[in-house]
């Protein structure tokens, strides 16, 4: 079954295809561009490109898997609304996967014969405003804590309490000096194959789809648009 995988929870804008068979998840192409300000421009053409490359049409898709964050809201919504709208047209289910879970899963289930990480793993992405989105995973990739949003110093303390041995994700890299944890490189952003693997059982079972809601973790800044609002209403 061919599935479209989308994630826009980090500065990496990702569209990928994966073939989900009874026992495996095989990548069928990926486009990922790191540009925190262009999610809205980049994602749709990337979807179009991965489909064309695989010689597939939208109607060939069996499901859409989307990373639901946490992540900066504006960009995150681009991926989710793209998934939801495509799912609606095609009449196929959409499955949400926490984006941090994909990083945690990739660290504990590496694809390329590399050894999985030792001990609990901290996965963290940049939440801006000098905070990070984070979660901690055990060796099986099960979430032990999070997802939450905190200052790097607060996360460092929680990580110590949880016995974290290694940190992954761009948020961990950015605040490595505060977290003081060994850093695993090459896993800055949610890998699409991990998102697909985490949804694979539901895809195979034809489980009912999710309404795709971002893991916001923060309340909206409730300040009305000030002065001259640029829109008619």
């Amino acid at each position: 079954m061919l599935v479209l995988v989308l994630d826009s929870s980090t500065p990496a804008v990702t569209a990928a295809l994966a073939e989900i068979t009874a026992h495996a998840v095989a990548p069928r192409g990926e486009r990922s561009v790191v540009d925190a300000r262009a999610h809205g421009e980049l994602l749709a053409p990337q979807v179009s490109e991965v489909l064309a490359e695989a010689g597939a049409r939208p109607a060939d898709l069996a499901a859409v898997v989307a990373g639901v964050g946490p992540g900066p809201f504006t960009g995150l919504r681009v991926g989710l609304v793209t998934a939801a709208s495509m799912g609606q047209v095609l009449g196929i289910p959409t499955y949400g996967v926490p984006s941090l879970d994909a990083i945690g899963h990739a660290a504990t289930h590496p694809r390329s014969g590399a050894a999985p990480e030792a001990g609990p793993v901290l996965a963290a992405t940049d939440a801006r405003r000098r905070e990070i989105y984070w979660a901690v995973y055990d060796l099986a990739g099960e979430r032990l804590a999070g997802p939450e949003v905190d200052t790097p110093a607060a996360v460092a303390e929680r990580a110590r309490e949880l016995g974290v041995r290694v940190a992954v994700g761009e948020g961990a890299r950015r605040y490595a000096d505060i977290l003081e944890l060994p850093l695993r490189a090459g896993l800055d952003y949610p890998p699409p194959y991990a998102l697909a693997e985490l949804a694979a059982e539901r895809v195979r079972a034809g489980a009912p789809g999710d309404q795709l809601t971002p893991l916001y973790l923060r309340r909206p800044d409730a300040v009305a648009a000030a002065g001259r609002k640029p829109v008619l209403q």
């Binding site: 793209t82 047209v89 009305a224 640029p230």
Partner: protein, 348 residues
């Protein structure tokens, strides 16, 4: 007619999630979900609240529009979406959704200008628009006077507010008077029981020295301040505030300036059609005064029904339909949402 293009329109520039379906100039569906109640306690639209609501509302609103129109996305010829101007995060939800729908249904997508869409919506009610026409677009976010040479390719801005939008002034005055948000409808209602001549409030940018530099521009900030001072003086003196009179006199000041400048623009450009649009165009006094003044000059006023004046998806579909009929090329899939999209750009 079945051979006219079937167009879907998506609108998310502010607090209304709108999906409309038109065939040619015929309105088939106009589904709307509003987050206005969530903004009421802040006295204005909170951008992040609006964006969250758009994401939740877009799929069900689309379903409703398609059901109402009795069509499927496979039947649609093209999808139009507001690309700007508007709240950046809110626009982005609609633009990304439109691309998702277009991609999956393998249909062309048009990123269009919200203001041009406010003009185009009138074609659903009154048929093709004579060109050139003058359009007065007034709402909570904008107060613009434009010359519509060719709705498919070019709109010329003549003037705009230099401070508050007209609708914003309505919201602020409503708050002063203890009336609910948004302020337009309650002020319109209160004003019916009051006298428009009870209090003389200032008419911004109408003095000769202002007209030289701002002939077709508007200013409502001074008016808002004048109303606030007047109300506060009453309150300080321990006297009751005559809400209907304040509402009527304030409304009269706004409508006097808006219609005065709009008619002047028609005469200046030798144009005999004036189109009103935007939420404030739903104001009963604005409509009446515009028609009264236009009639004296032999100018025809076109105003869509109130539900089509406020933001909706049908207006975007109407503009999309016009663009398709005019043979305008669709947008690319990387089309951006542009919160400051200039009026001169009708589609990207």
């Amino acid at each position: 007619m079945a051979d006219e293009p079937l167009i879907l329109g998506i609108e998310t520039s502010c607090d209304e999630t709108g999906v409309g379906v038109v065939r040619g100039h015929t309105l088939l569906a106009d589904a709307l979900a509003s987050s206005v109640d969530e903004h009421a306690r802040f006295g204005g639209v909170v951008p992040e609240v609006a964006s969250r609501a758009h994401l939740e509302a877009i799929v069900p609103t689309m379903r409703r529009a398609l059901d109402d129109a009795g069509v499927t996305l496979a039947d649609i010829d093209a999808i139009a979406v507001t690309a700007g101007p508007g709240l950046a995060g809110a626009l982005l939800v609609g633009v990304a959704a439109a691309k998702g729908y277009a991609l999956a249904a393998e249909k062309p997508v048009y990123g269009v200008n919200h203001l041009a869409a406010h003009v185009a919506v009138d074609t659903l009610e009154h048929g093709p628009l004579p060109e050139p026409a003058i359009a007065l677009l007034v709402s909570g976010g904008h107060s613009s006077l434009l010359l519509v040479d060719d709705l498919a390719t070019g709109v010329t801005p003549l003037g705009a507010t230099i401070d508050d939008a007209a609708g914003e002034a309505f919201d602020k005055v409503a708050r002063l008077l203890g009336l609910p948000f948004p302020g337009g409808p309650p002020i319109d209602r209160e004003a019916r029981a009051g006298s428009p001549d009870a209090i003389t409030f200032p008419r911004g940018l109408t003095a000769p020295k202002d007209l030289a530099a701002h002939r077709f521009d508007f200013s409502f900030s001074g008016l808002k301040t004048a109303v606030a001072r007047w109300v506060e003086a009453k309150q300080r003196a321990g006297e009751p505030v005559p809400v209907p009179d304040v509402a009527a006199s304030f409304q009269e000041a706004v409508c006097d300036v808006l219609t005065g400048k709009a008619i002047a623009a028609c005469r200046d450009r030798g144009v005999d059609t004036l189109v009103l649009g935007g939420g404030v165009a739903a104001n009963s006094r604005l409509r009446a005064l515009a028609e009264e003044r236009a009639a004296k000059q032999g100018i025809r006023v076109r105003v869509p029904r109130p539900k089509l004046c406020t933001d909706n998806g049908a207006m975007v579909a109407a503009l999309g339909s016009h663009l398709v009929a005019a043979g305008v090329a669709p947008s690319r899939l990387d089309l951006p949402a542009d919160s400051a999209m200039p009026l001169t750009i009708v589609s990207v």
